[in-house]
């Protein structure tokens, strides 16, 4: 198998790699905000459950979580295992990343000075208005560097989808490596991930400079 045909074959999986990447961000970024809100709930039971959720999802491997989401329903309830591998992959990724994002949001929310809330309160802003107009925009600016870190990790984590035999770029590479007894696919995969992360870093630095108009 030539180098070009290896690259072409692996490129076919890039669509799926990107699907995992974008769908995970699409669901986990807002879900993380919800988790962060629950983490700060006024009900102690809700706070405790949320902490357990975060602790579990950060404390166990994503690979294991993928298996639980995909096969848990079968072992627990005897439900048939779906042939669609994208759905369980996205569910596991989104739940996992939401836990990390929630803690990043929380750190950002807690770093906003109390005076901002007080100024908004005296002006008559409701809690929702205060959060979405005053707090959240400032939080986003403060947490962007941490979000960038997670997003870069996510690019590389997409390779874990091979656990469910969801044939994204890395899984295809592994298959070729096995059948051809070649190390080349791994090097190609490395280059792909590196280039994708160059793009991520570039886009995120654009976001950061877009928010640099105030201090």
């Amino acid at each position: 198998m030539t180098l070009t045909s290896m690259i072409l074959k692996m490129s076919e999986g890039l669509g799926r790699t990107c699907a995992i990447f974008f769908l995970t961000l699409l669901f986990s970024l807002p879900l993380g905000l919800v988790v962060a809100a629950l983490r700060r709930s006024r009900f102690a039971a809700v706070r405790m459950l949320t902490r357990m959720y975060i602790s579990l999802l950060r404390g166990t491997p994503l690979m294991l979580q993928l298996l639980v989401v995909a096969y848990g329903p079968f072992y627990l309830f005897g439900m048939s295992v779906s042939r669609n591998k994208l759905v369980p992959t996205i569910i596991a990724f989104a739940l996992n990343y939401a836990a990390y994002f929630a803690e990043i949001y929380r750190s950002g929310i807690e770093s906003i000075p109390q005076g901002q809330y007080e100024a908004a309160s005296v002006l008559g802003y409701s809690r929702g208005q205060t959060f979405f107009r005053i707090v959240l925009p400032q939080v986003v600016k403060r947490i962007l560097p941490s979000i960038t870190n997670e997003v870069i990790t996510l690019v590389k984590d997409t390779s874990l989808a091979f656990t469910l035999a969801y044939m994204e770029m890395f899984s295809i590479g592994k298959q070729i490596a096995n059948s051809q007894s070649s190390f080349m696919p791994f090097i190609i995969a490395g280059v792909f991930y590196y280039v994708m992360n160059l793009v991520v870093a570039f886009v995120m630095s654009r976001f950061e400079s877009a928010m640099a108009y105030y201090r």
């Binding site: 005076g115 100024a119 309160s121 005296v122 008559g124 925009p137 400032q138 108009y213 105030y214």
Partner: protein, 250 residues
Amino acid sequence: MNILEIEHLRKQFGDREVLSDISLSVREGQVVSIIGPSGSGKSTLLRCATLLETMDGGSLKYLDRYAVRDTGSGAEYASQAELKAVRSCFGLVFQNFNLFPHYTVLKNIVEAPILIQKRSKEEALQTARELLAKMGLSDREDAYPYQLSGGQQQRVSIARALAMSPKILFFDEPTSALDPELTGEILKVIRALAAEHMTMVIVTHEMAFARDVSDHVIFMDGGHIVEEGEPDIITNPRHERTIQFLNRFN
């Protein structure tokens, strides 16, 4: 007519009573200064009056609207809707400005009138520009707070409070974060407001200013009102504790 009426206000942090039996009323057009050592409860009193702290006893009333009623054993707050109406009666200027850093000067001033008071954008912009002109900041409406000096930021925050057309304006040590030169700027603005008969309650350490600008001066210590009266109590205090405190300023 009394704009603000506080009766028998009591506030404690844990077991410690920080305000005991404070009663205070402010008439329309009156300028009241509250002086006293740090930790005497001046700021906490202002924070209770502006609903930033909850009081544990007593009543709080703006015009004829009760924000808090005295139940005898405690303090009963009005409904959220009623408190919202009460909030539109007053404005507060903070020691450290608390401008919104992600908004321009103009947006800091117009957002609340448009969003909360549902005023038209044109009207809010016009009011804001008039206020900025009054504050000598007409050329800074597109600046962000970080680009302004402390004195300028404080003037914007005064404009932000005034844009809501409050019936009464509170100042919580408005010059404590500023150097003497910038302090002068702010005192000048407050003097101009007093000349227009704006109703104000000012917590301050600027004794000469308090004497000149106020109609009524309150001296607080240890959570109590120790002495109050005409502004000349600053030059001729009667109470032992007031004399002792004011001596340090002369």
